[in-house]
Amino acid sequence: MDESATWRLPESDWYSPRRLHDCPTHYSFPQAYRQKLIENLSLDSQGRPFKIMVFRGSPKSSRKSIRFVDELRQEVAAIFEKDCKQTPYRCIPKGEKRVLDAPRLRNDYYSNIMSWGINNILAVALGPELYLWNSEDQAVHKLLQVRGGNDWPTSVTWSEDASTLAVGYMCSNLQLWDVESSKLIRSLQGHSGRIASTAWNGHILTSGSRDKSIINHDVRAANSLASCIKRHADEVCGLKWSTEGNRLASGGNENLLYIWEASKMSSSKFLHRLSDHCAAVKALAWCPYQNNVLASGGGLSDGCIKIWNTEKGICINNIETKAQICGLEWNRHHKEILSGHGYSIRENQNKLCLWRYPSMTKVGELGNHKSRIINLCQSPDGITVISAGADETLRFWDVFGPPTAGAGNSMVSDLQGLLSFRTSLLR
């Protein structure tokens, strides 16, 4: 009997479990058989030729995708597939690098009382007082104190070049301070309710208020009011300009998220009105490595981080954290996003959660806060994140490092690094 015939067992026999019992479990297929197998691989049992393909899921599909959302998601994922280098697993610190005492820090979800400027100074409002903490020499300096007891800072933001500090108040006042000389430069009017959020875009300072309006101030002009937008139905608690300065995201207490184009703001015509969240939208953060991608976080009844393509106004990813989200910060050095949490009935209460992007798988969680986190901000070098908690502490986490020395993704951080170097020289 020739060898090749031995191996041509009838189909039923070959597949029968009984064969496994009765026959030896190891086979060494002779070369002749292997040859036959290779020949037969291109023909199936009916003698039909075939070809074999493996799915690779790369960016562009040659046919229209049934699910548009998946196509968008694939585009996002593919951009990273192309550019990404296999970053080795890095350690997420379990403990804080530093804890600062923050007495009288107001336990108010809607305020944004922390800002870390490019000048390496952290401005933080504790009750009626505003302090400046220098991250280089840890020197503390009190910038201002509000007397009277019924007014206090509710929103603090450094301008992009850290030359001016914008401070919004409970009583609706908005002030610009020059920190070098500790002097008030000017007061801006316009709102009739507390200033919950502020954001800079070059010489434009945008403020969002409990009076439901968004005002754009041109700080160079004598009459600063450039435009006033009344679209939100409740307090505007989240406000962020995109890195290129062409789009503004505004989140309201009525659970809506609006996307605005810089050029069309005076007409109050929004680009997108997104109503996917079921709670206040305070946490907003634009993706540093992809134009027009925005992350938004919802309050207690929502607890979702949503990733948006603001070009098309579509939610491309959604992760349920099941906890109130008070802040979102993108990691510029690795493809990750960090969320800060407050109340929760289920999990992630008072924690910081780190998510891989774009898969949105959880990398880890940190947090030793005894009560909810109110605000998050990150350092100019993009390594450290501070969480301000209702337990009256500011906790510093070196969670975003180490910085990668690669082009593309870390281009922003390289530029930033150059800027801080230059700034610190001047100091």
Binding site: W14, Y15, S16, P17, L20, T25, H26, Y27, S28, F29, L41, D44, R48, P49, F50, K51, I52, M53, V54, F55, R56, G57, S58, P59, K60, S61, S62, R63, S65, I66, R67, D70, R73, Q74, A77, N317, P358, S359, M360, T361
Partner: protein, 213 residues
């Protein structure tokens, strides 16, 4: 060309393709068969799956968006080929993440009744019968853990499609070798057929080193 399902029990080619490709991956972001394998074989951790009910059986779907969209997109293409009568086989290959060695091979061979394809004739078989057959296979996959060797190292998976040679390779696919297992053990599972498509299931796996000589 084939028409849409009209009466409840009569399945036309499109209806059949929908059931068969649902068999491989059904609508609304979920995949029955692939996930069942991924879950039962432990390719992804149990916690990353959520339970839903489909075909009368509780089914597990992954929460991992990456895996979800990967499988949704690939099954969209499989549906297309299936409807065109060009898909011969679908193979899910489970490999060691560290060494890329193929540890398991889940082979689904598809036979299309060519008569129906060409003339668009309807055949009769009740949905219930088909679902029962699918259920039988799902149960067999679940019980496969009793004889398949443990995959106790991190694994990854790939999906291969065997198509007619005149099919153009789409951008999201590349030509591949069959990723066979050397000296495999094989077990044939139940098949199911809709009288238009017939799907045969076979799992082949690498010999457990601890088997007696």
């Amino acid at each position: 060309m084939a028409s849409r399902t009209v009466a409840k029990d009569i399945i036309t080619l499109r209806g059949s393709a929908a059931i068969v490709s649902e068999f491989f991956g059904y609508a609304a972001n979920s995949v029955m068969f692939f996930y069942s394998i991924l879950y039962n074989r432990g390719v992804y951790p149990e916690e990353s799956f959520a339970k839903v009910k489909k075909y009368g059986l509780p089914m597990l779907l992954t929460q991992d968006e990456g895996v979800k969209s990967f499988i949704t997109n690939l099954t969209a293409q499989l549906s297309e080929w299936l409807e065109a009568g060009k898909l011969q086989r679908v193979v899910m290959v489970i490999m060691s993440k560290a060494t890329n060695e193929v540890l398991e091979r889940w082979n689904f061979s598809i036979e299309t009744d060519s008569h129906v394809f060409e003339k668009g004739v309807s055949r009769e078989k009740s949905d219930r019968e088909i679902m029962r057959e699918i259920q039988a296979i799902m149960r067999q996959i679940a019980s496969s853990i009793t004889y398949l060797p443990c995959l106790d190292e991190p694994c990854v998976f790939d999906v291969l499609a065997y198509t007619d040679t005149d099919v153009a390779v789409p951008f999201t696919w590349i030509e591949s070798d069959p990723k066979l297992i050397a000296n495999p053990q094989m077990v044939k599972l139940h098949s199911f057929d809709t009288k238009i498509h017939k799907v045969d299931t076979l799992v082949s796996y690498k010999n457990d080193e601890w088997d007696e000589q």
